[in-house]
């Protein structure tokens, strides 16, 4: 009886293994196809933009103001400065607030309390709210309404800050959680208070992670267009904002939008240049995040 069984079961094994082998080949191939497709789309986009944009890129392009009358002398200065200011003020806002929230939720909050769970769920949800909603919030509460800041850099930066704060908090919590409990216990055993433990042990260990989160958050904020339109960034300004709380401002995504929609070909070339500038900024920021992670990441 075993004589008849053996070949049958061997055949089954062989058939299965052949199917497995095909699957083994097909699955990575499918994955590769997906990656290839994504990379191709990106490459086409970049090549297309670079073909137009490279011809206008120069120091003059970065230091001139946008011009309607002389597109050939046009540049992005006011928009570039506006975007850098937005990022700077946004960082100053999200670093302390985001880090503090992450510390509270990880180190202090008692997860058995319903309000702490409510905060957690809310933060997760806020991360998925469409950016235009934050724009309207910014318009109603920061630009007008209770704060009445006006259409200024501060209002724009705070709106973007609110938009990316959930990202900072979520990444910050991951980083804090990655610091092993034994470090905390060791510190506490040596007589340090909880705050001393957090400040001297937990935070330094979590900083690379938190910094990465902040940079990724800013990378998201830098390309946001919709909330800035609502908050009132302008496309055309031939001056830089000197005062964060008083002057109207421009930003790169808004200028790009305006130029892309112009009827004249010259402006679309200018838009391609501005897209390259924005991409370069983004790349520098992401490279910074990767560097921080690799350089300072700790193995416990």
């Amino acid at each position: 009886m075993s004589v008849t069984e053996v070949p049958a079961s061997r055949a089954v094994v062989q058939r299965a293994s052949r199917g497995e082998r095909v699957g083994e080949l097909l699955f990575p191939a499918a994955l590769l196809l997906c990656v290839g497709f994504a990379m191709l789309a990106l490459a086409v986009l970049i090549v297309d933009v670079a073909a137009d944009g490279l011809q206008v890129l120069s120091i003059d392009y970065l230091t001139s103001f946008p011009s309607q009358v002389f597109p050939e002398n046009s540049g992005v200065q006011s928009a570039l400065v506006g975007t850098l200011l937005l990022m700077a003020v946004c960082a100053v806002f999200i670093v302390p607030v985001g880090t503090a929230t992450a510390i509270y939720l990880e180190e202090y909050a008692d997860r058995d309390r319903w309000w702490n769970r409510l905060i957690e769920v809310n933060i997760q949800n806020l991360a998925a709210v469409p950016s235009i909603v934050y724009g309207i919030l910014g318009l109603a509460f920061l630009v007008r309404g209770p704060l009445e800041l006006g259409r200024v850099v501060l209002a724009g930066a705070l709106t973007l800050g609110l938009l990316v704060l959930p990202v900072v908090i979520i990444v910050g919590r991951e980083a804090i959680r990655a610091v092993p409990g034994s470090i905390r216990e060791g510190s506490l055993a040596l007589g340090a208070t909880q705050w001393q433990t957090i400040w001297k042990q937990v935070l330094p260990g979590a900083l690379p992670g938190i910094a990465t989160g902040v940079i990724l958050a800013l990378s998201r904020a830098i390309g946001e267009t919709a909330p800035l339109i609502v908050v009132g960034a302008v496309a055309f300004a031939r001056f830089n904002p000197n005062d964060l709380t008083d002057d109207p401002f421009s930003a790169l995504p808004i200028l790009i939008l305006e130029w892309v929609q112009a009827p004249q070909e010259e402006f679309r070339v200018l838009a391609a240049g501005a897209i390259l500038v924005l991409l370069a900024l983004l790349l520098v920021m992401n490279a910074g995040a990767i560097y921080l992670r690799n350089r300072y990441e700790q193995k416990w």
Binding site: Q68, S78, V81, A88, G232, V260, L292
Partner: protein
């Protein structure tokens, strides 16, 4: 791990410094002109190129005055204007009664200043032999109840080609104007078989790339793409008229020609830089329009604009 701490703080600090340094370099304008101050202009994106050109040419002579121009749209522009957030509002149509009321409630007085002419071009694919259309035929094509599938369905003399429509969407002032003037509806047109886009360049691509493509958009988008498109003459009752700088200017391109406006606030006009800016704009409107590549005002219209500015500045 002290260094990481400093790195972290430094990161935020460096960003702030970069921003501050850049911000500083732009300061210290002033000089030639005595005027200074900030003027905020917002409103119609059709008027935007004109307003930007006006701001640029004015700032060449008055570097102390800082002017921003936005393109939020005529309606949103008036909303901001009546709240006192902007000093000048661009509009591709006259102010509506509701908007006027909102402005009066907030004590914002204004006057209409015509600054340039504009028209809506009805265009078809270059291959299509279609020279002239009456307003009624436009209604048969695009009216809310229209169901014409091919050009021949509207007029037996038209080609049998299947028609594909490309038009601006409801949020656009061009849409409002076209539906009101040509279709005589309250912002309504047919919906089946119509592709809409807020970006006029996409409409150009759609019409020029589809064999039976037909659509409408601002005259300047036709002007910039003449080699790709065929402009249809419109018969508004007095024969076929092609859209051109001349026919739009002299008003014979009916009913799709229009004027575009700027609405300065009377209160802001008490500030010398705003008054001077509007005076400059009205006086040089044709030169500014040419720089912005849109249809200029006629001499007669210029004096009309100047009179409006004078009324606002005076008293």
């Amino acid at each position: 791990m002290k260094p990481t701490m400093w790195l972290f703080l430094g990161l935020a600090g460096a960003l702030a410094l970069v921003g501050a340094a850049c911000g500083g370099s732009g300061g210290g304008g002033g000089g030639a002109g005595d005027l200074s101050g900030t003027i905020q202009v917002d409103g119609s994106s059709t008027v935007q190129p004109f307003a930007q050109a006006a701001a640029e040419l004015f700032q060449e002579e008055n570097p102390g005055v800082r002017i921003t121009v936005g393109g939020a749209g005529t309606g949103d522009g008036f909303e901001r204007f009546c709240r006192g957030e902007t000093q000048v509002s661009d509009a591709s149509r006259a102010i509506e009664a509701e908007e006027q009321e909102a402005c009066e409630k907030a004590n914002v007085e204004t006057e209409q200043v015509p600054v340039a002419n504009d028209g809506i071009a009805v265009v078809t694919n270059k291959q299509l032999r279609l020279d002239c259309m009456t307003v009624d035929e436009l209604k048969d094509f695009l009216g809310p109840d229209a169901d014409a599938k091919s050009f021949r369905d509207v007029n037996p003399k038209f080609p049998a080609q299947q028609a594909s429509f490309f038009t601006p969407g409801e949020e656009s002032g061009t849409f409002d104007f076209f539906t009101e003037e040509a279709l005589e509806t309250d912002a309504e047109q047919r919906t089946d078989g119509v592709q809409t886009s807020a970006d006029d360049n996409q409409l150009v691509t759609g019409v020029s790339g589809t064999p039976g493509g037909i659509g409408y958009f601002g005259f300047s988008f036709f002007q910039q793409n003449q080699e790709k498109l065929n402009a249809v003459a419109i018969d508004g009752g007095d024969g076929c008229v092609k859209p051109s700088t001349e026919t739009i200017q002299n008003g014979t391109y009916k009913p799709l020609g229009r004027q575009i406006f700027m609405y300065p606030s009377k209160k802001a006009m008490q500030r010398p830089e705003v008054a001077e800016f509007m005076r400059f704009t009205a006086e040089n409107a044709p030169r500014i329009a040419e720089a912005a590549q849109i249809v200029p005002l006629t001499g007669e219209q210029v004096s009309e604009a100047q009179k409006a500015v004078q009324t606002l500045a005076g008293s």
